[in-house]
Each structure stands twice: as structure tokens, then as C-alpha cells.
């Protein structure tokens, strides 16, 4: 089975965000595999181990994403592809990323594509479904269970807390929701092996794309931090009185109940 994973390098969830020169300040920040993409990598490895085949991890970004791709290889993926757009693309959006990934994938034999349901930085959740649409294959988002029998797939999808059991067929794209699995940590032998696994670097040229073909359809004109919240009022006195005071405050001052 040919399994592809879409992976993004993101800020660590414990990082504070600061802005420098109108951009998010990346100096000194820790980067990780987008947590939802980590579920995708784990699921791909499990599907391969059960059904055979090969897991290829793809990322669109800069040279720096190589580290996260190596981590995925250390977890157990077989191959990695990095489409480096650093020199070619000035401003990208989800249209750009999806177009590049689809352009690469349209020439591959595909049974299954797994992506995270959303990246914790941009937070749009667009790239997975866009890629499926461009490849004209079905997709199911925010899945918590995947079961494959031959070319049939049974998927459980999280819908705002409810679960849908969905039947569909391969080739298929799914996006991972928390709860799908428990991603493994790379083992030491895994890390050693990962160094020798193939990591192909491509640029737009290699995919017969021009910058104009992937030009963003949207543009960010400003980035800012939310106003810092003032520390509020910690109530004091007898607990019963505190509770009464709180209810009064919420009712008359904050007017939220």
C-alpha cells in the first residue's frame, strides 16, 4: 500500500508568541511536527505494518523542515519529500501549499493520504481537503479510527463530539483528530536508521510549476498580539460570601448570566 503523510513544521505548543518587524518572531523558538500531523505519521506506520507497503512523508516549506521530516523517518516512515519553496515563493497561502502537494502527488500511485486535521499555527484546516479535491479522491476529516479491508475503508469521524461511522473506498484522504492513536517516540535505532533513509528535496521547477501557478489568493496585511489581559479580582472572605459575590458580579457587573 502506498501511503502519503502531509506534514508541517510548527511552533512548539508551549512557545509564547512575540512579533518582530510585523512578523511572528521565530528567533530561538522550538519547532515540532504539527501535533495533528504526528497522529497522521503514527497512523500511516500502523497501516503499513498491518497491510504492507511504504510510508512517504511530504512537507512544503524551507530547508528547516528537514528536521521534522527526519523525526518522522525516525518514527518509522520510509521516505521523505521536501518541496523547498523558500527561494521561489514570496507569500504563500493554503491554495499555494495544496496546489504544490497535489502537483507532486498526481504523478504517484496513491492508496491513502493522511494529514493532520489542522495545523496549530495557521489553524485553517484547508490543505487536506483541498488536496483531495485537486486529486479528485474522497476524503474524511477529523477521524478517530481507521479500518482498512482490501480497498474498502471504515472510518470514524469526530463531529463536534458525536461520532459518525463512514464507509468509503481507497484511494482516500483522511485528516487526523486527537484520539486517533498515541504517537510513538522515535527510538535510538530509529534515529540512526533515519539518517540513511531517502529525503528528496524538490523545488517548483522540478514539479513543472511556475511561481504564478501557485500565487496566493489571500494576503496577510497585519499581525498583532491580543491586548494583554489585566489580572482580575481574586475574591476574599468566607467561601459562601465569595460565591454569592461572584454570582452578583457575573450578573450585574459582567452581565454574562
Amino acid at each position: 500500500m502506498n501511503i502519503y503523510v502531509l506534514l508541517k513544521r510548527t511552533f512548539d505548543t508551549e512557545e509564547k508568541i512575540t512579533i518582530a518587524g510585523g512578523r511572528i518572531n521565530e528567533d530561538g523558538a522550538e519547532f515540532i511536527i504539527n501535533p495533528y500531523d504526528e497522529y497522521a505519521v503514527e497512523e500511516a506506520i500502523q497501516v503499513r505494518d498491518a497491510h504492507g507497503g511504504e510510508v512517504t512523508v511530504i512537507s512544503v516549506g524551507s530547508e528547516e523542515s528537514e528536521k521534522q521530516l527526519r523525526t518522522a523517518l525516525a518514527m518509522g516512515a520510509d521516505k521523505a519529500v521536501l518541496v523547498n519553496i523558500e527561494d521561489d515563493v514570496e507569500a504563500s497561502d493554503q491554495y499555494t501549499t495544496a496546489k504544490i502537494i497535489a502537483q507532486y502527488l498526481k504523478d504517484q500511485e496513491i492508496d491513502l493520504i493522511i494529514a493532520g486535521n489542522v495545523a496549530i499555527d495557521g489553524g485553517s484546516g484547508q490543505v487536506g481537503p483541498r488536496v483531495a479535491e485537486l486529486l479528485e479522491i474522497p476524503y474524511v476529516t477529523t477521524i478517530t479510527k481507521l479500518d482498512i479491508q482490501g480497498t474498502q475503508a471504515t472510518v470514524v469521524r469526530d463531529v463536534e463530539g458525536d461520532s459518525e461511522v463512514i464507509e468509503t473506498s481507497l484511494p482516500l484522504l483522511v485528516t487526523a483528530q486527537q484520539g486517533l492513536n498515541e504517537p510513538r517516540y522515535p527510538s535510538l535505532p530509529g534515529i540512526m536508521k533515519a539518517k540513511k533513509k531517502p529525503l528528496e528535496q524538490l523545488e517548483l521547477d522540478d514539479l513543472d510549476l511556475e511561481e504564478d501557478d501557485v500565487e496566493a489568493k489571500t494576503k496577510t496585511i497585519e499581525i498583532y498580539l491580543p491586548p494583554k489581559k489585566e489580572a482580575g479580582k481574586v475574591l476574599t472572605g468566607d467561601l459562601n460570601d465569595q460565591v454569592k459575590e461572584l454570582v452578583t458580579l457575573l450578573h450585574t457587573e459582567a452581565k454574562v448570566v
Binding site: 493554503q94 491554495y95 490543505v127 461520532s163 463512514i166 489568493k217 479580582k233 460565591v243 457575573l250
Partner: protein, 325 residues
Amino acid sequence: MARKVLVLGEVRDGALRNVSFEALSAGKAIAEGGEVVGVLVGKSVSALGQELIQYGASRVVVVEHAELTQYTSDGYSQALLAVIEEEKPEGLVFGHTALGKDLSPRIAGKLNSGLISDATAIEVAGGNVVFTRPIYSGKAFEKKIVTDGLIFATVRPNNIPPLPKDESLSGEVNSLTVNLKDLRTIIKEVVRKASEGVDLSEAKVVIAGGRGVKSEEGFEPLKELATVLGGAVGASRGACDADYCDYSLQIGQTGKVVTPDLYIACGISGAIQHLAGMSNSKVIVAINKDPEANIFKVADYGIVGDLFEVVPLLTEEFKKLKINA
């Protein structure tokens, strides 16, 4: 510049969701005086058309089909694309719900258009429609414009105020026939786990528990408080990782981002990853035994104390308030 804007009315359990009225309000802003057309998709949904008009649509297009009883991306995208083909809009707005998140990128992919997901505010400035949206789960915000083609956005529930309902308004509700084909995903079963309460991402009140709730049973007092306030129960990653509750309740940078009117954090320390998911709530109350807990730094009101003492007392007080009201 006046634009024609289509707004999808989302139906759940036979009624329109609030976020659809908010989407209509967003559609009005994008239209800049142009026509706002409501769209309804489902099995028998046309009766809801007038309500969309009372909230700001000038008319409504309905696509009804037995195969559209439940949402599937194949069915709904064919329905929507048929309406888009017929109406040729310059703007398109959905709610940023499970349905909107699943459907919008596909429509954008098909139309080769941009898409601004999860908008929390819309303004028209310097000839552009400018969208505000959270990034890094609300640790920062960005302002975005569409530079090419259709202005397509999804709007986060609870952020864009709906227009007041005007029951004197009425308008045309027309149906469009669509032949559905190639439905590649089939829903075999829906297991309703969230049915007991209000949907977390749309709730006006959220009562969230952290490691301090100590067990699955520890969530009971929180559920009672949520019931009294008509709210939903959420949780921190700590509580989910400890198996006190289902991951679908998780609020944070991984998990859901919520912006209710009132957020009551019970036994939650306030890790950065949790704060990202809730710090843009309008009013935050923290209940924690540890006076040094981070959560107090973002709380509007705090009570230092044991949640198992405080929460039941709060429930009683709110009950009294409701009776007197």
C-alpha cells in the same frame, strides 16, 4: 463595491444554527449593499427559508434531496456548486463548524479560490474587505484580505453579532433541482455522545475541568453547573490525558478553541497550551486551590478554594438567581 453574497444556512435537529445568523451578518458586511442570498441544503428544509430572510437574506435558494438528509462532502459540495453556478456570487460565507470546516476547503479547491477560515471580525477598509482571524490558536491575530477572485470565508461561532431578527420581512424561497452522483462516502451510523449538552464551540457558557477534578466522577458537579447555566462542559489536556474525560472535550492549542461569554475554569492550572484555547473568552472565572496558579493571571474573577466545595455552592447560587429572575 456592491457584491452578491451567498450564505449557507446550517440546519441541525430541524433548526437553523445560531452561527448561520452570524454568517448572514458577515455576508451583509461583505456584500456592501449588494444582495445576500441564503442557501439551504437538506431533505426538507425549505420551511426554514423565511427565518434566513428575517435575519438578513433577501431571498433563499433551497436544494432538497433524500441523499442530503445527512451531511456528506460529496452531496453538499455538488448542491453548493450547483447554486454557485446558477447564482454566480462574488462572496460566500459558511459557519466555521464541523460542516463548514469540512466543506469549505473543497469548494475553494474546486473553484481555485482563496478561503479565509475562522474569521472573528469583518470590516471594510480602503476598498478591501478585511478579515480578522486568530492564529496560533488565539495567541496572535492576523488581518487578511482576498487578493484574487471570490471572497470566501468561514466565521467562528459567537464572534460576529447577528442582525436583529425582523419578523415583518419575507421573501422568495426557490428550489433548485440537483442530480447527485458519485456519492463516495456513506454514513453508516451516528453515535451521539454530545447530545446531552450544548455544543462546546458554540456554547455561551463553558465550565471546564482540569487535573483538579481528579476523576471521571469529578466532572459531575461541573456538569450540574453547566446544566443550570445552559452551558457546555470542557476540559484541559491534563484532564483528557488522565482519562477523566473524552478528548472531544479538550480545549487548548490542541483541541478546541472556544470564545464563550463566560468561561469557568475549575482546577485548571493554566498551561500556555490551554490558555491559547480559551483566553479570548469574554469573562473568565478561575477556581483553583493554588493561589499562584497561572490561570488567575487571565481570570477576571478568581476564587482560591477547592472546586468540590465551590462549584456546588455556585450551582445553588445560580439556581436561586434563575428562580428570582
